[in-house]
Amino acid sequence: MNIFQWMWRQLTSMRTALILLMMLGLASIPGSLFPQRNQNPMKVTEFFKANPTLAQWLDKAKIFDVYSSPWFSAIYILLFISLIGCVLPRSIEHAKAIGKKPPLTPKFLEKMEGFTEVDRPAEGALDDAERWLKKNRFRVRRKDGSISAEKGYSRETGNLLFHLSLIVILFAVAAGGLYGSKGETILNVGDRFINTPTSYDNISFAKFQREGDMVPFSLRILDFKASYDVVTSAPTDYTLKVAAANPLGSKEVLKTIKVNSPLTYGSTKVYLQANGYSPVVAVRDKSGKLIFEGPVTFLPQDANLTSIGAIKLPDMSPQIGMVSSFLPTAARSAKRGAFSSFPEVLDPRLLVSVWMGDLGLDSGNPQSVYRVDTSKMKNIGLKALSIGDVYNFGQGTITFEGYRSWVNLQIVDDPGKMYALVGAILAILGLLTSLFTRQRRIWIKVDGRVQIAGLAKNGVPGLDEELLSLEKALLKNDEKGL
């Protein structure tokens, strides 16, 4: 046996598979204790600020990207191979054994479980026993004055089905990592979306996914309704209505998207993830010329949707930036200043703080669309606007025309997930079969005396009752015969 054969044998032993499974469990722990980049990048940044040196070392060990780290993948892939190497040969062996008869009756039944001598004549005992065993769906092998019977063969079938299904799930997860795409987009009510990469705010493609694989649908956001609990302000329902066309240009169909019911096109699904308000404003310069008109997306800050945003006007000279907040239901307290007291729009207010100078957009550094870099600017005015109000800030005017709701849609294509679901269902079925099937053998031997005995695999209970009822059957048939 050479070294590779030895290694293969070691890797595919059940012991190794189990150790790898335990290691996968252990390896997933740090990911639940430290913030993860793919789940919460902000928390990772905070962690870096709080513990710079420690964070650097942890980052080298990929602690912030545990589930895509080389060491996690290594365990995963080894487990995958080990499981295949462990389960496939056993399945082939098991499949070969399907047609086979139960193993021969052992020589000495006396040493087996539940050994009994049945008090009846030997004649016809085997026939009676065979009838009873077949009625109880045992597989029967009759040879030389003895019967060996077996039942519960499906225990191993279920066991193997379970483990094969795990392989299917692992395959499906891997497929999800190699094919598919995931992206997000923020859309105002009234906007139209076409499913191409450029329409997204951000989108990531898996290794083997091509742009041409994207489902060519379009959406028009017709209406978004959010309802809230009056006492707690907690949301009770979100309903999004869209006009959808697939493929592009076909007749539009009215569809409803809710948090737990995405819009589905094959393996592509459109999820409603977040929502907020976009105040609609119009800005004119000193001469009254329209510089900007439309909705500006604001970012919610609390449960009552107090939202912040930035209105940037790089085309005015000098440049103008407005640090703004939107309050759907305006309230004011000495401690907090202006805030929103309810997430629905009941008494909306737009607060603008107007700055003049250099917006810093040409510096090349990426800027948040929700904030204004005021380091090279001068404050020239502050105003709270109700709908319809016009505010003259000296360099021009701003009109608060109204508001629209926006929704954040997540669009995910995961072709692997159907297989994962099938794998999961089969795994449960296999597990139930294997854990609730009792595998046992029963033997009857006739050589002058009539002897019965049995064997229950893994010591599962119930064999004694079964032997007892076989004994009863043998005695009863004997009476009939007489």
Partner: protein, 298 residues
């Protein structure tokens, strides 16, 4: 009846259940401590069941009554909010206690496990006490993400699995305590009435083997729900991660028993370890963890 009245009624039921469990606790304590009669002359321990049987029966009666009141409390809580009562940690705790004491009553009928009444009543009392003082939240409707049929399916499977896991843990812990006593030269007086080590060993295994498929189902149901609510079926959210770790630990336990032939002490420790990953998930991840399983405060 208004929602608020129903919520109050639910609270009263929970308080009543706590009183009943307290009585059950004392009755079982009396049963355990007075069941043994030591005759000094022979230095032999004899049992006087006639004396303690009544206390034990009172304990069981109180456990059943407590279960009924707790059941009413959980149902009324659900009725007050017009939904299944599994929206926050207070509700998980009262439903979890219900599942745990239900599993005990089931085991009582099937395996004659009255002696477990003492640890079970303590555990239920502590859980309910923590729930109603620290974790309590007023009854409120669900946030949209929780509005799904999967809430009932996923959470009920998880809670029932949890109840049975904890019962198996209690039995494994009892095993280890008794095992230690026997190793040191014999059981203490009060422990002589408890079942043999082998019975305890078998029982904790059977409970785990029985409920492992249900836990697997709970995880899968969670994945199906996550797919329709969050756009992915598995995302290594802390709750998901720890559910997976619990699953792996119990899978290891089952393999250790069935294929590696682990019995007794080693198996009991492994069982305790697996159960503690479930508890960690419930306590740590719900309270300190971030991630998408945190709703409505707790």
């Amino acid at each position: 009846m208004t929602s608020r009245n129903l919520a109050y009624l639910s609270n009263y039921s929970i308080y009543s259940a706590m009183v009943l469990y307290t009585i059950a606790f004392f009755a079982h304590a009396v049963e355990v401590s007075f069941s043994v009669k030591n005759t000094a002359e022979t230095e032999k321990t004899t049992f006087d069941f006639s004396r303690t049987d009544r206390a034990g029966r009172i304990g069981t009666a109180m456990m059943i009554l407590g279960f009924i009141f707790l059941f009413a409390g959980v149902i009324l809580r659900g009725a007050s909010a017009h939904r299944v009562p599994w929206g926050n940690m207070y509700e998980f705790s009262i439903t979890g206690s219900l599942a745990f004491s239900g599993a005990y009553l089931f085991a009582l009928i099937k395996y004659k496990l009255r002696w477990l009444g003492l640890p079970v009543s303590i555990a239920v009392l502590l859980t309910l006490g923590t729930a109603i003082t620290i974790l309590y939240r007023p009854s409120a409707p669900l946030v949209p993400a929780l509005k799904s049929t999967w809430l009932a399916i996923h959470v009920s499977a998880a809670i029932v699995s949890g109840g049975v896991f904890l019962l198996a843990n209690t039995i494994a812990a009892t095993y280890l305590i008794l095992d230690r006593m026997e190793e040191r030269g014999g059981r203490n007086e009060w422990a002589k009435k408890l079942p043999s080590l082998e019975t305890l060993d078998q029982l904790s295994y059977r409970l785990v083997a029985f409920v492992f498929p249900l836990w697997t189902f709970a995880v899968i149901a969670g994945a199906i729900w996550a797919e329709s609510a969050w756009g992915r079926y598995w995302g290594w959210d802390p709750k998901e991660t720890w559910a997976f770790i619990t699953w792996v630990a119990y899978a290891a336990y089952l393999h250790a028993r069935v294929t590696a032939g682990w019995r007794g002490r080693k198996a009991a420790w492994l069982c305790l370890f697996a159960g503690s990953t479930f508890l960690f998930n419930y306590v740590y991840v719900n309270i300190y963890g971030t991630g998408r399983h945190t709703y409505s405060g707790l």
